[in-house]
């Protein structure tokens, strides 16, 4: 069986280490769209409605919706029902803030990084079948894509 591993540099938004199966999803508002108790996407019109993000590496180009999403994400992290790491294309303070506050309150670090077009395309091609590791410290970040 062929296995391949590729590495890309990324930019740290929130430091931490996390890995898991990729979950590539359309923009989601955690407030009104995510159940922090069960880890499930609940927005009826979302293409990934019903899917769990718990323990996955969430790959989402941009966020959308209410700033209350920060609270819902922090609550999901507290409950152990949050993504293991977050990869985005654009800076987003609402998602980052949920992770920053959870890091300060509960000492649970869910890293958030942004990636360039090359890394983004590679993740898109690998899709939900790959396993991604995110290693982000305050100066540099790296993502490792493992294809089974």
């Amino acid at each position: 069986m062929l296995r391949s591993t590729t590495e890309y540099v990324a930019t740290t938004m929130v430091a931490g280490h996390g890995h898991g199966p990729a979950a590539c999803i359309a923009p989601l508002s955690f407030w009104g769209g995510y159940d922090a108790a069960t880890g499930l996407i609940v927005e009826q019109r979302h293409p990934a409605c019903g899917q769990s993000l718990a323990g996955r590496v969430m790959v989402m180009a941009t966020a959308k919706g209410s700033s209350s999403s920060s609270s819902v994400l922090a609550e999901a992290i507290r409950n152990g029902q949050a993504p293991a790491a977050v990869i985005m294309r654009e800076r987003d303070i609402i998602v980052a803030l949920g992770c920053i506050v959870a890091s300060e309150l509960y000492a649970i670090d869910v890293p958030v990084v942004i990636v360039d077009a090359a890394a983004w395309d590679a993740i898109g091609q690998a899709g939900d079948g790959c396993v991604i590791a995110v290693d982000a410290d305050s100066r540099a970040a790296r993502i490792t894509i493992d294809l089974p």
């Binding site: 700033s67 609270s71 819902v72 803030l97």
Partner: protein
């Protein structure tokens, strides 16, 4: 890297206590995400964190209270989960009742004012042109930026409170003059603004603005010069519901837009959109799911919180009716406006007419309404946008006049003077 002032560094290192240090750490980490080069002073904060979203909401505020946190600038509070003036109206479970109340009280322990309103710009003291502030609550943000000309980014949970405890905010985005100019022009001169249904016309314009502009800044040309603050409030609240709008300019009306050129910073807008009567009808059809004659469960208005002028309009409409309201009729407002109505003897007359005033919270975010099965009518674009998902209602969308008439009839009534 963010350039910290000596005072910022001292606060981060704990010179002002554990709570201020936590707040400064969150601010600095957030400023890095936002790409801000430094922090700036802010002189007013509005906090959206007193609506209960789970244990993490309480844990954050409890940690600040335990660390001897106090706000260092005038700080108002947005709506909570409970109407503390009329607690008997709450119909949710005991856990939400207890935690919702605790969260509101913990914010008061930090020195926040007990305003509990989403319309802090209707309070006695409000920010002025050019003032740097840190406000949360999407409609308050867009009003402060657009109508008052104060300067705030779109703050939300946690960061608003960190700004209040430190008096600092990341210097970027809408705090910076260069980023406040319009890049798109929206021409509404093709819309006939008559007297009937003006409230929902502005709300519909806002829905269109948000959907088309997203987070871009628009300059609206062609609004009538007698446009009121309440109408701009409806426009902004809708725009912040359908899009990420933090600032718009209304040429000839709002303070940073004496002319189109001024609103655009002397540059040509990137694009121009026309809004047509057909666009407005499309919004109304999207928000409204009712037919004339359908039975009505309730009416809810006051999202954002009703102003004194809006109460006067409601009283006039109620005065035109010869029979009492047949359905529940909720008006969301602030406790300060309720107290003014009480002092003037107007509150009891409204209660007698069948109007239930709700303060400190809002009917679309917490269980208050007795009837949520069936149609609820509103003139609020924001309420119509969020309530179906939040509390499971179906929405009849109409002007304040249509809301009152429908509540008298007990069924949805649409005004022939407004094109439906």
């Amino acid at each position: 890297m963010i350039a910290l002032s000596p005072a910022d560094s001292a606060m981060r290192d704990g010179d002002h206590g554990e709570a201020a240090a936590l707040a400064m750490r969150v601010l600095i980490r957030s400023a890095a995400v936002m790409g801000a080069p430094q922090l700036i002073d802010v002189s007013s904060a509005h906090i959206d964190g007193c609506l209960y979203h789970g244990q993490a909401s309480l844990d954050f505020v409890d940690r600040l209270v335990a660390g001897q946190g106090r706000v260092v600038i005038p700080t108002t509070l947005n709506v909570g989960s409970i109407d503390l003036i009329h607690p008997e109206l709450f119909r949710g479970d005991d856990a939400l009742r207890t935690n919702g109340r605790r969260l509101m009280e913990a914010h008061l322990a930090l020195g926040c004012e007990s305003t509990f309103t989403c319309a802090p710009y209707q309070l006695a003291h409000r920010p002025v042109l050019g003032q740097q502030i840190a406000w949360a609550e999407s409609n308050a943000i867009v009003f402060a930026n657009s109508v008052l000309g104060a300067r705030t980014n779109r703050y939300g949970d946690f960061l608003d409170l960190c700004a209040a405890l430190t008096g600092r905010a990341p210097h970027c985005g809408l705090h910076v003059t260069e980023n406040r100019y319009a890049t798109v022009r929206i021409d509404v001169s093709g819309i006939a603004v008559g007297q009937a249904g003006r409230d929902i016309l502005y709300a519909a314009l806002g829905m269109i603005l948000g959907a088309r502009a997203g987070s871009d800044i628009a300059a609206i040309v062609g609004l009538p010069s007698d446009t009121t603050e309440d109408e701009l409030k409806a426009l902004g609240a809708s725009a912040a519901s359908s899009g990420a709008v933090g600032l718009f300019h209304a040429v000839g009306i709002t303070p940073e837009a004496p002319t189109l050129e001024a609103a655009c910073g002397g540059r040509a807008p990137r694009t121009t959109w026309q809004v047509t009567p057909r666009d407005l009808d499309a919004v109304r059809r999207t928000l409204n799911t009712a037919q004339a004659g359908d039975p009505l469960a309730a009416v809810s208005v006051g999202t954002p919180h009703f102003s004194l002028d809006e109460f006067a309009a409601l009283e006039a409409l109620l005065g035109d009716e010869s029979t009492p309201l047949r359905t529940d009729f909720y008006v969301n407002t602030s406790r300060y406006i309720l107290w003014e109505l009480e002092q003037a003897g107007r509150a009891s007359a409204l209660a007698q007419a069948g109007v239930q005033i709700v303060t400190d919270t809002c009917t679309y975010i917490t269980p208050i309404m007795k009837q949520t099965r069936g149609l609820v009518m509103t003139n609020s674009g924001k309420w119509a946008h969020y309530a179906p998902a939040n509390i499971g209602v179906e929405v009849a969308y109409g002007s304040l006049r249509e809301c009152v008439r429908s509540a008298v009839l007990g069924e949805v009534w649409f005004d022939a003077a407004i094109n439906h």
